[in-house]
Amino acid sequence: MAILTIRDALNQALREELLRDENVFIMGEEVAEYDGAYKVTRGLWKEFGDKRVVDTPITELGFAAVGVGAAMAGLRPVIEFMTFNFSILAADQIINHAAKMLYMSNGQFKVPIVFRGPNGSAYQVSSQHSQALEAFYANFPGLKVVMPSTAADAKGLLKSAIRDDNPVVFLEQERMYGLKGEVPEDDDFTIPLGVADVKREGTDCTIVARSMTVTLALQAAEQMQKDYDVSVEVVDPRTIKPLDIDTIVKSVKKTNRLIVVEESHAFASVGAEISHQVTEHAFDYLDAPVKRISCAEAPMPYAKNLEELALPDVPKIIAAIKEVCYL
């Protein structure tokens, strides 16, 4: 096992897939000569050249459309958005074209494309650059949505996303690019989409967390174990859509309590969906209402102190655990 940052794990995945399949190519703003705004594509332009790693103008709708067309024509584009906030400009291509093409062409055109880039908050990038868009994309049939929380997951899931014949929205997190973790050295290592991972086993309370909040949930779980002898299970769905609800339900049936921690806003969020599905499948196992910790219902403030207050953190998670465990 190698210890890699999530950034380097993603870079490895891209490089291995570029090597593995000549139809794979990368396109986006600053991905080539500049090595990527967050250096995820570092060295790839030098190694694979202009045809495989393509710099674009600042035209999200345009290069997303080029990507969709290329995918219809048989290539496997990986489109990088500098942040997913900019993907909103390309939403028509992602939602109306990539997601619908297979269905509306009666199966004639598959669209094997990956849209990837950082999602959620960074450090003080304010309202327009801190949004977590997973619920938005997960709402539309035809798209897969993936959110890794560790270096190994990042690598294994990105490789699966590139190999998948459906359009995949692959959501990274800027705060986590430097996060290190063990990654298997096998260059054919993949993690299937749609399979959740129990990041920590426990018996008293289930936390479903994704992306950045997995780390927070694990810290809160450790502290609850130490301070209150409460055993918290942390489930990371890894793929938001299709959602591995079975793993979550199994966990809730064991612990009887569920907290969803998410960086997105609460209203109509993925947490709301999980809460609904758990109520549907495990109602008779619940001992407390499902609790959610989400981003504050406000545009992300620029001020550092307010930004911290708006986001989920360990104390908020601990308070929620105590609430659902009736402590």
Binding site: D284, L286, D287, Y326
Partner: protein, 465 residues
């Protein structure tokens, strides 16, 4: 940040407290859990501790003065901190607390919400749910008596109010399922969650304590075979089971109550020959240490407890729609103190030996005289005994301590000429009068209990049977 110190609720019936003295002076540093003042409640002198560390910035209600529940009595914070805002607020709130107490019609729950609102931390909460949560938190967090289970009791009390006012039973889904799978009667389970919600933990405890309801089909038989007892509100108090009152009993209750007041009381007197009991006591005392010596009253307490286990209706409590039957005999023993009367409770006297009972009464009576009894030590008895024999009183009646169903008034054992086998002999005769709540106890029910009680005292060996 400076915080107000509020008059805590230190006994179940307390509405105001008198600061008997401040242990800390203004400017003193306070550790968390340290005693800051002593408070005289309606029953006892309690130590009031701070859960917060800091400096006692200001004493608002000085020693010797009264404060209503929830009134600000002082301010705690950091040394040198400006607390003038809190001081202004406190004077306004003090008035508020008083006016609250004057408006007696407010429900308990409402009053508590009021208290929560006075806490600065609670001011931002507005919706019902969160406010309720704050009530529980406030009660637990406030300067409560440092007794085990204080927080739990407070929460349970809130739950009770909520549950009753809502009328609807709140049960978590898994608790409901577990109850049905394990034949636990939800009506006999006390919810420990917010708003009295019955949660998994409550059912697990109910299952553990063997508290299962009757299986449908033969409810009567089952109930008799294994009566299920619910957990009490007061720690260590006897568990109980509740049975619905029959229509007949409800009519008896309401007719008799109309006639005589809230508790339709009647009195039964029995003469008991105490010679064997006195001998029994002498034998016990001959075999134990001087400081363990048992009194006649201790023997009476034990005998009453034993007799109660055979007469469920006497060890019960009339609750309008139900009658509550207690599993144990928790005997309240009236103790005269300088300015009143208090009844320390011997929990589970039916399960304790006479020497143990004697020791417990001696110890609690001592603390009662110093007003050091905790509320759970003098409330929640299932039956009471008042003994004025030592004052030479031959016979008297005692007043029932609700919700108990009966109390016995014990007079002095006096050498009296009696006829035995056609001859006049002298025996020690003691008169015992039981006051009975007619809503639960009928004449014959009470008489049968006294019969057992008399037989056991006249022949203590019967207690073994």
């Amino acid at each position: 940040m400076a915080n107000k110190i509020l008059m805590p609720k230190l006994s179940p019936t307390m509405e105001e407290g008198q600061i008997s003295r401040w242990v800390k002076a203004e400017g003193d540093a306070i550790e968390a859990n340290e005693t800051i003042a002593e408070v005289d409640t309606d029953k006892a002198t309690m130590e009031m501790t701070s859960l917060e560390a800091g400096t006692l910035l200001k004493i608002i209600v000085p020693g010797g003065e009264n404060a209503k529940l929830g009134q600000t009595i002082g301010i705690i914070g950091e040394k040198g901190e400006d607390f003038s805002a809190l001081l202004d607020e406190a004077s306004a709130n003090g008035a508020g607390a008083k006016s609250d107490a004057e408006t007696q019609e407010r429900g308990d729950a409402e009053k508590k919400t009021e208290l929560a609102d006075e806490k600065p931390a609670a001011s931002e909460t507005s919706s019902d749910g969160t406010a309720q949560k704050n009530v529980a938190e406030t009660e637990g967090r406030s300067y409560d008596a440092q007794r085990p289970g204080a927080k739990e009791d407070a929460q349970k009390e809130t739950s009770k109010v909520e549950n009753e006012s809502g009328g609807r039973m709140i049960v978590s889904p898994i608790a409901a399922r577990m109850a049905s799978e394990n034949d636990v009667n939800l009506k006999s389970v006390k919810g420990s969650g917010p708003k009295g919600r019955i949660i998994k933990r409550d059912i697990e405890e109910a299952i553990k304590s063997g508290q299962r309801s009757a299986v449908s089909g033969q409810p009567e038989e089952k109930a008799q075979a294994a009566p299920s007892f619910a957990a009490p509100e007061i720690q260590n108090a006897s568990r109980f089971r509740e049975e619905n009152t029959s229509k007949m009993r409800q009519v008896i209750a309401s007719r008799l109550a109309e006639s005589i007041g809230p508790i339709p009381t009647f009195y039964l007197t029995v003469e008991i020959e105490m010679d064997n009991a006195l001998e029994f006591r002498k034998q016990i005392n001959a075999s134990i240490k001087e400081e363990e010596k048992v009194s006649v009253n201790d023997v009476i307490v034990k005998v009453a407890a034993q007799a109660l286990t055979k007469h469920a209706w006497v060890n019960s409590s009339y609750q309008d729609k139900t009658v509550r039957f207690y599993e144990d005999a928790d005997i309240g023993v009236a103790v005269a103190i300088d300015d009143g009367l208090i009844t320390p409770v011997v929990r589970g006297a039916n399960r304790k030996g006479i020497v143990e009972i004697a020791k417990e009464i001696k110890e609690m009576a001592g603390r009662a005289r110093e007003k050091k009894l905790a509320p759970e030590e003098y409330t929640g008895a299932t039956f009471s005994i008042s003994n004025l024999g030592m004052f030479g009183i031959k016979e008297f009646t005692a007043i029932i301590n609700p919700p108990e169903a009966a109390i016995i008034a014990v007079g002095a054992a006096t050498p009296t000429p009696v006829v035995r086998n056609g001859e006049v002999v002298v025996r020690n005769i003691m008169n015992v009068t039981m006051s009975c709540d007619h809503r639960a106890i009928d004449g014959a029910t009470g008489a049968r209990f006294l019969q057992t009680f008399k037989q056991m005292l006249e022949n203590p060996i019967l207690m073994l049977m």
